[in-house]
Subunit: 400 residues, 2 copies
């Protein structure tokens, strides 16, 4: 299988199914497991690239759908590509645009050739084919591109899920044929909550020369326990020589489970979107900052947290005041805090795997999280919804 020059993955240590490794890209090495903050429109909302990197992130995700419509891939390419445009110096991955084209756009239809839809911005008619997805991603110039895929909703009938797998494979081949030599390309395994369909599709895509394999179609409405169970089985089944990426997931608890199943990469809007809705995540639960109980609370969000918000001495009372007053600063401070939590989780997971104590680490994390806290069952399903709509509009009306 021919792989992409400048791109490679090496497993450094394994502990059960969990593993830690290095993803090498033209924009530097990324230690895995890794969490990719979402920079929907060329910005991880509210933060500078330096602040994002300070959370530990060394790869971010850009949304092809949004950047295709605005400012347009030709302009981004003319200005040196997404790295130069956004001043993000580390690795970058773009999705294919299909997920948003299907869920965000208006009057969209799915045909053999791709998606036809109208822009949610100006109603312009657009067609997203595998070739277009590769062309747009090539112009954006991320280190890793994603194939165009079909993502059926949670609970879709089995024939629809099977057809999605077949079409995704056909599109995957067309993407490989259209791919730029300098850009890595990941295939996307579908199959809903059927382990058998997932395994078959993973084998089918694994036979193709993708640089990595992703799990799509999770966190789209299925019960959260079912997602954990299916990922636990399909994760270890994915070709271990390539990076494994669980798309659009999830809560810290979801990530702890999936890392245990051998997943290497994640993205999710949850930490950034929840921050803008006034939610600070901690290992021990979530803080809804507008609650009256924080009105006189002098303590930081999390006394054990070393992020600039907690270490900077900002009290819950002050953060609450800023949120109630609609001040933008609080959106930054909560976003930084949440991404630092994800960064810390990844760092600690890597260390635990390297030291052969991942099971104990996972038990400790899941135990501390308990029930009914930051990792509510609903959050993971919220997350992929937000990947579409909420990240688009920037923030909630109540605060901005």
């Amino acid at each position: 299988m021919s792989r992409t020059p400048g791109f490679s993955f090496s497993e450094l240590a394994r502990d059960g199914h969990a593993r830690t490794g290095v993803l090498s890209t033209p924009h530097g090495d990324v230690l895995t497991p890794t969490f990719m903050p979402v920079g929907t429109q060329g910005s991880v909302k509210t933060l500078t690239p330096a602040e994002v990197a300070a959370t530990g992130a060394r790869i971010v995700l850009g949304n092809t759908y949004h950047l295709w419509l605005r400012p347009g891939p030709e302009l981004v390419a003319q200005l040196g590509g997404l790295h130069a445009f956004t001043r993000w110096p580390h690795a970058m991955l773009t999705d294919s645009g299909g997920f948003q084209a299907f869920s965000l756009a208006e009057r969209r239809t799915l045909v053999e050739d791709g998606f036809v839809f109208r822009s949610h911005l100006d109603g312009a008619r657009k067609a997203l084919t595998p070739e277009v997805a590769m062309e747009v991603q090539g112009l954006l110039g991320a280190d890793i591109a994603m194939q165009l895929d079909v993502c059926p909703p949670g609970g879709a009938p089995r024939p629809e899920v099977e057809e999605a797998c077949r079409l995704t494979t056909r599109w995957g081949k067309r993407c490989l044929a259209a791919k730029r030599p300098s850009q890595a390309l990941f295939g996307i395994v579908q199959g809903g909550t059927s382990v058998a369909l997932r395994m078959a599709h993973a084998d089918e895509l694994g036979a193709l020369p993708f640089d990595g394999l992703a799990l799509g179609g999770f966190s789209v409405g299925e019960p959260i326990a079912m997602m954990h169970e299916v990922v636990a089985q399909i994760g270890p089944h994915l070709d271990p020589t390539r990076p494994r990426y669980l798309m659009g997931v999830g809560t810290p608890i979801d990530l702890v489970h999936a890392i245990g199943a051998g997943v290497d990469m994640f993205d999710c809007v949850l930490p950034t979107r929840n921050a803008r809705n006034g939610q600070a995540l901690t290992q021990h639960g979530k803080i809804v900052i507008k609650q009256a109980r924080y009105k006189e609370d002098r303590s930081p969000l999390d006394p054990t947290c070393a992020c600039p918000t907690c270490a900077g001495g900002y009290s819950r009372a002050y953060l609450r005041h800023l949120f109630m007053a609609g001040e933008i600063l609080v959106l930054r401070l909560l976003t930084e805090h949440n991404l630092h939590l994800y960064g810390r989780l990844m760092r600690e997971a890597r260390a635990a795997i390297a030291e052969g104590r991942y099971a104990a680490f996972a038990r400790a994390w899941l135990g501390a999280s308990g029930a009914g806290n930051a990792n509510d069952a609903n959050d993971a399903n919220d997350a992929n919804d937000a990947n579409d709509a909420n990240e688009t509009v920037g923030a909630t009306e109540s605060t901005e």
Copy 2:
């Protein structure tokens, strides 16, 4: 005259009427001339304290009206005062709340005792007397408090302006009687555009033991050239042993003129508010970032600027994209840029005064600014309006 312990002003050098000095406060020394960024609700909008300090600012302004209504001065005091609450370690000044109580609040009336009004937030009935203004400011705990004053609109009839001066003097005496020993207090000279009224009122207030003297009632609708002319005459007339503060003004050009008249301190929402409206200020004019001409513009806002936005390599094209896409990051980047311009102007003015070349410096600055640019005549009058309304709502609808 008894002055406030821990507070002093020393003139270091004079050049014509322009002067540079040091304002000493319990939270450190402030070199003058100085510009105070406006932190309406306990936050210089979009920025952290460290970012504000990096612009060169060593004193910020807090709005008593806003903080009185939310979160309330008792809470701020309980949490250690405005410095501890907001994490701003340097000097701080609060206004009296009168300007906003009169312009922002609903159903407000002016009586001998003060203002009676209803909160713009919840309609609660409030009375703002000189004693209340001092009590609230005392609880907020800034280094410098302002007396309650009456600010007539631009173009008010002379009898109204005269009565405003008389009432302001009576209120000033009541504020002095109610003032906390640990907090400096400035008097506010009114008199509209009448140099004679201004001089008389300055003498009246100058006879009272205020720690500083401010010029209120400018940039409220009068022609900009008339403001420059009146300030040019009244500035040098204010007691030189005390700091002189021109309230709510203005554009860089206004500041260059007023520094030439011996003014030491300024505040204005213009650099922060205009940033959130997508305007970047430069010495050579203003950049309206949404304009199509910047769509492919790779250059920074100002190649001569060392602010994090310009030095950070963000292109006008990227900033335009962020603004069009409603991304919060651009509001930060433009705010930082604009406040850095004001910081640089103050730094360069101080150096020019110390070196006896202020007139040449002012000519060069005004010449570079030219006409019809960042310093449009309208901007200064906009500024005080914004001090009320626009700073309150956070940002423009179009961008957030």
